[in-house]
Subunit: 264 residues, 2 copies
């Protein structure tokens, strides 16, 4: 495609929350036109639309939709199916959701729609800018033209685009929960334990950095260390005793220890 102008797409953006508020400006930066923004809560749609050139706020789902090449459903997972069924989609509209755990088959009740998925494998938080070129974007579609358009769209945002079927995407989403949500929770427990010992959270930063550097450079199971991996019963017992004030974390410590030892 080098030498040719990048295809500019007209995007209809549903959602104005954590994902959509970062996706909108990224789409504009990539040369696309966000035709409209819709949100269940009008003020957030207005706030996002005001940041984007030539973008209107869609105020009703009852009227015919403004024309767009791609309609993106950047709404909470639970809102995707209700939104799909509450709109009279233009015949042949390309509609894509962004959810890791929703299968492509969610589109089967909209036979006139070309359904697709554009799943960004990243965690989105208010106030933390996303580095889009590094975000893996996972594409699936039930139609070859839809797939081509979504691949083009994804490649205009990121250097890491790949096709994934629904089963792969679900597995990846589960893996992301372990690598992101659960890891964050463990770091929260660690910080809480430090606070109880009157120690600052920053104390753990070099250890956490090295843990992740090592786990990304080696198969993590192959570099597992610690009292669980070395079957160090006295240390495990001392740790259980140190967690006496936190029965739930004590139990979790035991369950994670058993899970590590099951891998040895």
């Amino acid at each position: 495609m080098s030498g040719l102008p990048r295809p500019q797409l007209r995007i209809g953006l549903f959602g104005a929350g954590r994902v959509a508020s970062q996706l909108g400006p990224a789409l504009v930066a990539a040369g696309h036109h966000v035709v409209f923004v819709w949100s269940r809560t009008a003020p957030t749609a207005e706030s996002l639309a005001a940041q984007l050139p030539g973008t209107t706020v869609l105020t009703t789902l009852a009227a015919p939709l403004p024309a767009a090449d791609v309609y993106l459903l950047a709404v909470p997972d639970a809102a995707v199916a209700p939104l799909l069924s509450s709109i009279s989609w233009p015949a042949g509209a390309l509609v894509a959701h962004l959810a890791g755990a929703l299968p492509l088959s969610i589109f089967e009740h909209q036979p006139t729609v070309r359904g697709g998925v554009l799943y960004p494998l990243q965690t989105f938080s208010p106030g933390r800018a996303i580095d889009w070129p590094t975000v893996p974007l996972c594409i699936e579609a039930n139609d070859l033209t839809a797939e081509t358009t979504l691949l083009d769209l994804a490649r205009s945002l990121s250097q890491h685009v790949r096709r994934l079927d629904s089963a792969q995407r679900l597995k990846l989403h589960v893996a992301a929960v372990f690598a992101n949500n659960f890891t964050n929770h463990l770091l929260g427990i660690a910080e809480a334990l430090l606070a109880e010992a009157n120690l600052p959270p920053a104390l753990l930063a070099p250890l956490v950095r090295e843990t992740v550097d090592k786990a990304l450079a080696n198969p993590p199971f192959s570099v597992q260390t610690g009292p669980a991996a070395r079957q160090d019963a006295p240390t495990l017992a001392a740790h259980q005793a140190a967690l006496a004030a936190h029965p739930a974390w004590q139990a979790l410590y035991g369950q994670l220890t058993a899970s590590i030892q099951a891998q040895l």
Copy 2:
């Protein structure tokens, strides 16, 4: 102390494993003299001593020890007490262990020894060089002169030295297990799930990096995301189904979900 020469200490190093093999060269680089290395397995002691200038291998624990300002016990936790009791320590010898989970009271059966602790809060692995100036070193001693010497020694290695009592150190060690050992295990599960979906482990790297960056910049409990935190029952059920081939990880998923929800 600026302008004065850094005090050079004579170190007797017990251990030649993951920690000692990185500590020995760091001590030399900081201007100290590693007088001898001892290891339960003589070849590893010989290999380490050969890398250090003027360092001999201690071949017996039965003869009087060569003189040193500090004897460091960089051996497995379980080996510290047996080693302490099997040596005729010079009267007033300063002996320090490096274990997070062992209390200072482990020295109480050696009344002629000045006991101490120099606990490096980092994970050590073969082939991964430690950046010593960034490693938090936690000091405790049962004698003021011992504490001063250990603080000087620690500050010659690291910019992050602090005094910790045994209860704080144990709590910190438990926190480190959550932040390091358990986190590594979760990353291992994530990688295994990716492999089952024929996906490369590198796919998760941007997510893991952002997870850690965010958790180190904010209280992790305050930035918790994911299906557990948003009480997303359909996604939780889909993930449980996707883990059907791994009953143990399925159980762990449920336990971590419950632990996240208990913090909401």
